[in-house]
């Protein structure tokens, strides 16, 4: 419990500061457990904080994530380590885990006020990973505008050590001498909330990702639809033209044995439908077509949301896109079979969005020293009692939350994180 004053001892280690990790950490902290939350990225918020509006309620993702993020960051029982990783975890006995925490250097001290003067002066420009490479950023940068903590970090791989930032920083917080910090921590339970990765569409050769310019991923579209977006509107990459005929290709990397992922990613149908609705708002003249195999609008309010999109004029075409090729005027040609007509068709669009699927983030597999957490056949964390205790893993005292156990949408992720926190709490209380 929280009365523990030793700095290196905590009740629960939560790995991953996305929405699942935050929800689990908050629930536990509210029950007075002392939580250490480790996030490998520079900011909390996971993938959700980067999304535009979320289905089916169309409320803005930031409006939901940021209060959760700041509640987490503020909570006296939660100790946050961003830009940090867990090197290994060793289970000594029940409710006794030793872990090695690595704090990577950001070369900026915590008293940074986020004024961004350094960013202005930094001469290096590289691609901005938080905008999915749509635009550039500096070598010293604040990850993104609603990041938490909102402090700068130096991307040392790209930094030329010119020292311009050091000179301009009013809080004097640039420190090039920082080094990686390793420390040992003791915890009583572990929650894996490491989330998911997105499928790399380049693997599907016949989609020609990279060579056909105006093919982007759904995450890149998501960024273009966010109010904090890099451009002021939805633009296609080749010439910055506002597209007026956009296509969505579903099941990219999902339900596909040839890429080794036969399962359904559960969210792509809905996020594509949502983006289509948002595009209809941003570009009222645009046509949006969604190429699908089956529309999986299964959750509360999803089916109605899908019907609503149809009502708004989003065109749904049944058929998997088989080939993507370059057309004239930088346009993109999709070849598919229109299942309802039963004929092969070629359609020209000026922007094509690949609705990429969800793959497990397998970072967790390396954590455990003696005997890892068992995986299911798709490399998600195996749920050892899937029906009655969905958060249990093969190691007693290690629990799984959110998409670490399989694809899930945001509401399900939050519920799953709630379940993990609940199981963790009762595991910890059994000690008494």
């Amino acid at each position: 419990m929280a009365e523990n004053t030793n700095n290196n001892e905590y009740d629960v280690l939560v790995i991953g500061g996305g929405i699942a990790g935050e929800e689990a950490a908050l629930n536990l902290a509210n029950q007075n457990f002392k939580v250490i939350l480790v996030e490998k990225d520079l900011s909390l918020g996971g993938k959700m904080i980067h999304l535009s509006k979320v289905f089916p309620t169309l409320d803005c993702a930031a409006c939901i994530t940021t209060p959760k993020v700041s509640e987490t960051a503020r909570h006296p029982n939660i100790h946050i380590f961003t830009y940090s990783e867990i090197e290994n975890i060793e289970k000594k006995s029940e409710r006794e885990f030793n872990a090695t925490l690595i704090e990577k250097p950001t070369y900026v001290e915590d008293n940074c006020t986020g004024c961004q003067l350094c960013e202005e002066k930094c001469p290096v420009i590289v691609k901005d990973q938080y905008q999915w490479d749509l635009v550039g950023r500096k070598a010293i940068y604040i990850p993104f505008s609603i990041a938490n903590p909102r402090i700068a970090a130096i991307d040392i791989d790209n930094c030329i050590l010119c020292g311009a930032c050091e000179k301009v920083c009013p809080a004097d917080c640039i420190d090039f001498t920082q080094i990686e910090k390793k420390s040992q921590i003791k915890v009583k339970a572990v929650i894996i909330a490491t989330g998911y990765n997105l499928f790399d569409a380049k693997i599907i050769k016949r989609y020609n990702v990279g060579t056909v310019k105006n093919v982007i991923t759904s995450m890149q579209m998501e960024r273009q639809l966010v109010p904090t977006r890099p451009f002021n509107n939805v633009l296609r990459p080749s010439d910055g033209k506002m597209p007026d005929n956009i296509a969505y290709v579903l099941c990219v990397g999902s339900r596909d044995e040839t890429v080794g992922n036969p399962i359904c990613s559960q969210v792509c149908c809905m996020y594509s439908t949502k983006q289509a609705q948002l595009i209809m708002g941003a570009l009222p003249m645009a046509d949006v077509t969604i190429y699908y195999i089956n529309i999986r609008a299964f959750g509360k309010g999803f089916c109605e949301f899908y019907q609503q999109a149809k009502g708004m004029g989003v065109e749904f075409v049944k058929g998997k896109v088989a080939r993507i090729e370059q057309g004239e005027d930088e346009n993109v040609i999709l070849r598919y079979e229109d299942i309802i007509k039963g004929t092969v068709q070629e359609a020209e669009h000026d922007l094509v969005v690949l609705s990429v699927g969800i793959l497990p983030n397998t970072d967790y597999t390396g954590f455990f020293k003696n005997g890892g957490v068992e995986q299911d056949k798709f490399n998600y964390v195996k749920q050892t009692d899937e029906l009655l205790s969905p958060a249990l893993t093969s190691i007693n005292g290690v629990f799984a939350a959110g998409t670490s156990t399989g694809p899930m949408d945001i509401p399900d992720t939050i519920l799953s994180a709630g379940a993990a926190s609940s199981e963790t709490a009762s595991y910890l209380r059994k000690a008494k």
Binding site: C60, T66, S145, P227, T228
Partner: protein
């Protein structure tokens, strides 16, 4: 000539963060825009708005929660009712109802906020000039 003053009622969870973010992103809007944050846009009393007009504010803008409201689904409707009630009071007092505006501002809606402020100010300035 001093530019007209606008009073913005923002909401602590949703639209005030958007106004913060506007500043953070150095997206400028006129410095005669003043913000008072309250829990929910449905809590703005017509009395306050009338008070602002009385004391010399040229315009009042309610940065509403809209559908993002954490309190009630009916927030948009309720805020709308407040606006229409106040419009009646304004008419009674001979104040142009167009000096009270409302729009939903989500927590990252910086551009819409700036746009609203600029066009509102433009309207108020023109209006003022006409009157003069």
């Amino acid at each position: 000539m001093e530019s007209p003053k606008i009073l913005v009622f923002s909401t602590e969870k949703i639209s005030d963060p958007a106004i913060d973010l506007t500043g953070l992103l150095k997206k400028y809007y006129p410095s005669t825009v003043y913000t008072i944050a309250i829990p929910c846009s449905s809590a703005v009393k017509p009395k306050w708005i009338m008070h602002a007009f009385e004391k010399g504010f040229a315009g009042v803008f309610i940065a509403a929660d809209g559908t993002d409201c954490p309190f009630s689904e009916k927030c948009t409707e309720n805020t709308g009712n407040i606006v229409s009630h106040t419009h009646e009071f304004m008419k009674e007092k001979g104040i142009d109802p167009a000096r009270l505006k409302m729009a939903a501002i989500c927590s990252v809606c910086t551009d819409p906020f700036v746009k609203h402020m600029k066009s509102f100010l433009k309207f108020l300035t023109e209006n003022k000039e006409q009157k003069n």
